[in-house]
């Protein structure tokens, strides 16, 4: 043991190196993160603080270990530039011709224009009659900004109004878990940040956009298998109170189907933590277009298709 100082130095630098990599550098990079503005028109401050009840819900979320099974971070593997038509006027043949010409154009340097399925089908099968129905709609995908601008000009020249859509893509987004990746700004007002690492259940970063209805969140906490058959989520019934109906039923009592309903004369009422947690879940959304997570939100865009059965259950009820 005649190398004590050397071993000490080696251990010191090994620990100091990882500390500066994992703690110091991120702190220097985003330690002073502040509220920013969304991009696009109009801009708005982002993020905004959660309403009071939802802020309390974060503590309930933490206390019940929701983060052990649910993540709150959405990944993204790429961004694509799509060329969409917003208005085709009345003179369709030249526009369709321009679209087909663009779809068939050979790759020009770094620019590769790819026809999206509908246009590709029209190009190979020749059935282009219904092509311009249901605008705004994306038709082409470009691999470069210049190529996209040139294609938009060509469509303008043909008499259509075209737009550039910036569309994030990735497996998480394909599952309907969000419209873009999550970035540090999304968690700015959360203390502590609960990003989670396991995905036993679905990602919750955009739970509020998939299910804005607080009552359905409460129902899901009380009996998860009701809305999601085969869910492994445990019921959180200790967040609810089963009590005898007094003079008249509470307006806050859950409306429960027969299989989980309490016996006659009883009602199930959410306790304050359950209401806070439901408010927190309904407040979760990370879909604002930001400079560091750009996307365009088309005016008439349909909300991301949800894999959560809660919405289908809500519409089926």
């Amino acid at each position: 043991m005649n190398y004590g100082p050397l071993i000490f130095l080696a251990a010191f630098f090994a620990l100091a190196g990882s500390w500066s990599g994992f703690v110091l550098t991120p702190q220097l990079q985003i330690g002073r993160l502040q509220q920013t503005n969304t991009i696009g028109n109009p801009t708005a401050a982002y993020p905004v603080a959660r309403p009071g009840l939802a802020q309390q819900g974060l503590d309930v979320y933490r206390a019940n270990g929701c983060a052990y099974c649910h993540s709150q971070q959405v990944g993204q593997t790429g961004t694509v530039l799509e060329i969409a038509l917003t208005d085709a006027g009345t003179n369709h043949p030249p526009i369709i011709a321009a679209l087909l010409k663009l779809a068939a154009a050979p790759a020009d340097g770094p620019t590769v224009l790819t026809a999206l399925p509908q246009l590709e089908a029209a190009r190979t099968n020749g059935g282009s009659a219904m092509l311009l129905d249901g605008l705004p709609k994306a038709f082409l995908r470009s691999s470069s900004r210049e190529g996209a601008n040139a294609a938009i000009k060509a469509l303008y020249a043909a008499g259509a109004k075209a737009q550039l859509w910036i569309v994030p893509v990735g497996p998480d987004l394909a599952r309907g878990w969000g419209s873009r990746r999550t970035v540090a700004e999304d968690f700015l007002f959360d203390a502590p940040v609960m990003p989670g690492s396991q995905r036993v259940g679905p990602d919750l970063a955009n739970m509020g956009t998939r299910q804005p209805n607080v009552n359905l969140h409460l129902l899901h906490l009380y009996a998860p298998q009701l809305q999601m058959k085969g869910s492994t989520m445990p019921p959180y019934r200790f967040l609810f109170e089963r009590r005898k109906i007094g003079l008249e039923p509470s307006p806050e009592a859950l409306v429960l189907p027969a299989e989980v309903a309490p016996p006659a004369g009883y009602e199930v009422v959410p306790k304050p933590p359950a209401r806070a947690l439901a408010a927190y879940l309904a407040s979760l959304r990370a879909d604002a277009p930001l400079f560091n997570a750009p996307l365009t939100v088309p005016a008439s865009a349909t909300p991301a298709t949800s894999t959560n059965a809660a919405t289908t259950a809500a519409s089926a009820k």
Binding site: G40, L81, A98, A157, A158, I166, F291, N292, P294, T296
Partner: protein, 200 residues
């Protein structure tokens, strides 16, 4: 068999306490380690967005991030209708019907719907003198309204004229405009109807 211990075969060097000595590290390992270190730093630099806190995966640099910013404000390309309303519409009307006695209409105009080579020349240098449009006689002094427009904007506005208000003529491409511009050079003298009619 006697109980005499067998003589030790260990040498004096083997019985001594082990001591750390100088390890002769082969030179190629040192070179390889430095090459690996260099590659690692290059890789880290390439995928760290230049250490900018703004740049997240999948973007790798601020330039790539800038490429995905949505276009701000006005579109980068005005489009035929906008150009028409800014440049042509004041005299020729937003409905393309023109002004009686001053500006001829575009609707059913044989000049607007006819030979593109003639039509492109008109905004590039202007038009002067008597001209017959859609059965009406005009005496024009049109300035070179389109000379300052870029090729693609001019092509778009001419296409807009040829395909709006019920007009159904072929589109005009920026290449056509460019070719005509090259043909007439830096002509500033307005055209007359006879000169245009001579052009095929």
């Amino acid at each position: 068999m006697s109980a005499q211990p067998r003589p030790s075969t260990l040498t004096a060097a083997e019985t001594a306490e082990p001591r750390a000595g100088d390890i002769a590290l082969p030179l190629w390992i040192i070179v390889l380690l430095f090459l690996l270190l260099y590659w690692g730093v290059v890789y880290f630099d390439q995928y760290s967005g230049g250490f900018s806190p703004e740049v997240y995966m999948p973007c790798r640099s601020t330039a790539e991030l800038a490429m995905y910013q949505p276009p701000a404000g006005a579109p980068e390309f005005a489009g035929g209708k906008t150009v028409y309303e800014n440049v042509c519409g004041l005299c020729h009307g937003t409905d393309g019907m023109g002004k009686p006695g001053q500006a001829p209409p575009f609707v059913n105009s044989e000049w607007a719907l006819g030979n593109p080579n003639r039509m492109i020349r008109i905004p590039l240098a202007g038009l002067t003198g008597p001209i017959q449009v859609a059965g009406q006689q005009y005496n024009l002094a049109m300035p070179a309204m389109g000379a300052a427009l870029p090729d693609d904007d001019l092509a778009a506005v001419l296409t807009y004229i040829r395909q709006s208000w019920g007009n159904k003529a072929s589109a005009i491409t920026p290449e056509q405009v460019k070719a005509v511009r090259a043909e007439i050079g830096n002509r500033t003298q307005p055209w007359t109807a006879e000169q245009l009619n001579a052009i095929q």
